[in-house]
Symmetry: C2
Subunit: 604 residues, 2 copies
Amino acid sequence: MTGSTSAHSPPRRASPRFAAHDRATFDAVLDSCERLAEAHFAPHARRSDIEEPHIVDGCVRLPDAVAPALRAFADSGMAAATEDEALGGMQLPAVVEKAALAYLAAANVATVSYALLAMANARLLLAHGTPAQVEAFARPQLEGRWLGTMCLSETQAGSSLGDITTRAEPDDADAGVPSALGARYRLTGRKMWISGGEHDLAGNIVHLVLAKIPGDDGRLLDGARGVSLFVVPKCLPDADGAPGVRNDIALAGLNHKLGYRGTVNCVLHFGEGAHPVDGRAGAVGWLVGAPGRGLAAMFHMMNEARIGVGLGAVALGYTGYLHALDYARGRTQGRVDGDAATPQVPLVAHADVRRMLLAQKAYVEGGLGLVLYCARLVDEARIASDDAARADTTRLLDLLTPVAKSWPAQWCLAANDLAIQVHGGYGYARDYRVEQLWRDNRLNAIHEGTHGIQAIDLLGRKVAMDDGAAFAAWTARVAQDIAGARTAATGDAAVDTALAAHADALDARLQRLAEVTAALRQAADPRLALANASVYLEAFGHVAVAWIWLQQARVAGATPGDFHDGKRAAARYFFAWELPRIDPQLDLLASLERTPYDMRDGGF
Amino acid sequence: MTGSTSAHSPPRRASPRFAAHDRATFDAVLDSCERLAEAHFAPHARRSDIEEPHIVDGCVRLPDAVAPALRAFADSGMAAATEDEALGGMQLPAVVEKAALAYLAAANVATVSYALLAMANARLLLAHGTPAQVEAFARPQLEGRWLGTMCLSETQAGSSLGDITTRAEPDDADAGVPSALGARYRLTGRKMWISGGEHDLAGNIVHLVLAKIPGDDGRLLDGARGVSLFVVPKCLPDADGAPGVRNDIALAGLNHKLGYRGTVNCVLHFGEGAHPVDGRAGAVGWLVGAPGRGLAAMFHMMNEARIGVGLGAVALGYTGYLHALDYARGRTQGRVDGDAATPQVPLVAHADVRRMLLAQKAYVEGGLGLVLYCARLVDEARIASDDAARADTTRLLDLLTPVAKSWPAQWCLAANDLAIQVHGGYGYARDYRVEQLWRDNRLNAIHEGTHGIQAIDLLGRKVAMDDGAAFAAWTARVAQDIAGARTAATGDAAVDTALAAHADALDARLQRLAEVTAALRQAADPRLALANASVYLEAFGHVAVAWIWLQQARVAGATPGDFHDGKRAAARYFFAWELPRIDPQLDLLASLERTPYDMRDGGF
């Protein structure tokens, strides 16, 4: 989408923050990540799946290739790519960083996840930690020396994080650790689904842990308002900041998953005395931010984490597409004219195979555009000229985040399904890559908030917030692009006509979506209005991705050549085959259809 | 659907063929298969997946529990359940047999597949073999003593079976085997994707093999007209019919699959001298049916095989639904009113979870109805009073078969996906059953003819055959049920209104489907008309399943109670949420949308 001339996106390089960069440095970053992906991540992608993490003598054993890949990643400086130069960063725009990281996720999502988790962890500390906490725990992660996790879920509290029961009690015994790290606590509790929770890939593991501080009566507050955030390292930093005394955190078991197998996933027990500190049980941690604001801090970082999920889904879908395309071009099967005396033709000669490839292309390139658009909003917010502009951009990002998380999770999984189908029986065999990609991608509709959670976030919160300001701002942006496409003068009448038709098709759905949105917000029974939120999320997503395709088609214009032909065809496909899917969905939403809402348990 | 009063379905028990049966014998068969499933098939379902078949000392090693399960199945007499009493059968209606077998597929699809393959093999021999071939090869399978396979695909010939290169040369050396078995050949070639191709679960393995007999010039005929069918046992029958000399068939390797892992899948090399017979290479086989009619014979049996695939897909989807329902009732998470001081509620209390459960219910019960309807047509054809009636019924069955195969493969897989989603993170863990069901079910859109092949079969052949006679006959049946639902008088005005609304909704789509069908058949460019056949298949499928739901809703009528409430709700769900999906599909078909058709390879 270079060359985009949307009036609402001033060139980012005009910002002083990005002044050191130009197209050449962006290309260098992209190329370097592509090489890194090919050299260090792709070669063990299947091995990551087969040689699942397992416990040997109490330690998690991973394939040998994982640690060198993460060292190579650390050496690339990508962990701090978007950070300030003062922190060792490159001040790279997030949109370029995300595009570059996509190569690594495409090559081996399981291995790069260790690094991505550490980056998210460090950013949360940058946003909410004290300078000392940043220095002690974020910097080693930004430098790629340590790794980190997010410890949120417990067995009884997955989507419902307000129900956690991990306790954090004040710990007066300082044990020589600089008090500059803040208020010190002892944590006790059991955490579930901890990706990267235990391994020996790095010098230390920094856990960010949600826990509740008991009141004077010893009881934990109900709900989200009781949840605080703590930084709880596997090894406590010694006087020099190096990993010192082992903290009281025990690996209680591994979860064995459908996919994403290379990313070790653990049950961790905090503070049960397996590794006493100063002679007593309790995992040592320091409060990050204010008490009771743990979920808010965590969700502050959720936008980027969820965009990261969307990016991972896109990367898996894209990889599958490329495999399917390669197979369809190389594999011969059947004939188009039915003449058995002629040689068999490549699969791609069959219209139904081209349909499956076009759908994949439309999903993965559309999803990539949506995710990168959100990354651009991250940049826009960062370089906003004033607080009002920053608030506007952040609100728009807040609105689009559940969509950028969920749409790729749904449709790039569908792309992986089609990639299997293009391969026929071979797609079902583990000798080919596509089945693993499908399994890996299935996680993305679940973690970092399920599809249903995203739907409620979008319809119940984001669309309504500030009296619909974000939704209004977004529809204004889309309307602006619709107007631009309608009046495009590419020099090719057929292309102009197609663009105008796409614009009309999008306009009709955008208006209908706005009507339906208003109706749902005004519904007499808010619970009923929210009951079909998942359908709303899906319809919204198709409108958003149609908008992305409209922009891509406009940029492609009448430029000749295979690449731009492909963009025009994929846009045509999306408008003809995909966007109309939402018409019955919008009708259903408008009708406040109540069958699931009214369903009684006995009827199942 | 007991109590159905459709005018077009006379009670089957009126037929002398089924005279020995009544509701009690049907119930006994169903109960016995349910018990068999629970006792012998379900317990090793996960083990079948984990302890994948592997080769030890040249033999395929399977989990210990597989052989006893198949022996118990043999003892049940189900292998011959629908066959003539003279063959040791029960003359059970296929509709009851399929319903009973669904329990076994639901419990362990991988293990029951060995038996189902043998049954299909035996039936093909019954239809096309000589009495001696039936006695030698079909009877031991119907008695559950031997197992069997279908050897169709080769590496270069999957969907395109006319391109096989396995050769069958006349073999004059009879080696003492009764010539009553027919013309004897020596086969040479390599077969791919052979389910049940090698194991020691039975006394013998009967391979039905497609091969080509060379002409006088030594060359093989191009295309399907050159393909003949042979019966090629692993061990040649001795003078007493017992397994004797080892045939020249070698296990060349196992395919490792995404799912369905317990069904061993092999590469077999025929006639390469690993086990010479009478001192020379060449696998001994006997011609079944006429030369050059091999594909026709194979496809004669394809209807039942494809209905079997649909049934398997339903069984996997149904099992997932039951697991999801159980989980949703037992697992507490979150609240409906948001009051953190109250206990968490069961998942099923959330409307979005009920949506996912209702969708699963609608898919699996709708799919089951469609598959069993097709099984009923098998029965109707069998007991038809004259050839014309038989031809009518068979034509209808031919029409619906690709739909009964593909619709469950697509939507019961979607049900499995939703079952994972209901489980959240636990659904992604291998400790729970649903991820395996999803992997297992993914095969069903591939084997026995891919989704795309079924689509071309439906739109390119079935809909057009006999100048559209089958399509016309089907729409007449549907129209009859629409009329019946419109005039239903259940004694409950609300139910009558709902039924009439369902009928109207179906009627509109049926008419639109008929219009689109006519337009596609008359299209100037038949290749373009066929290009979007997959969409046609999907739209047709939703109409067919809406028809099934209309019948179920009519039978439910106003009968009170949870079971019938559930049926009414699932029907309401299907008409409100599912059927409208096809409106844009039918519009797309009507427009002869040509983006995939026109797409050039370079644009991908």
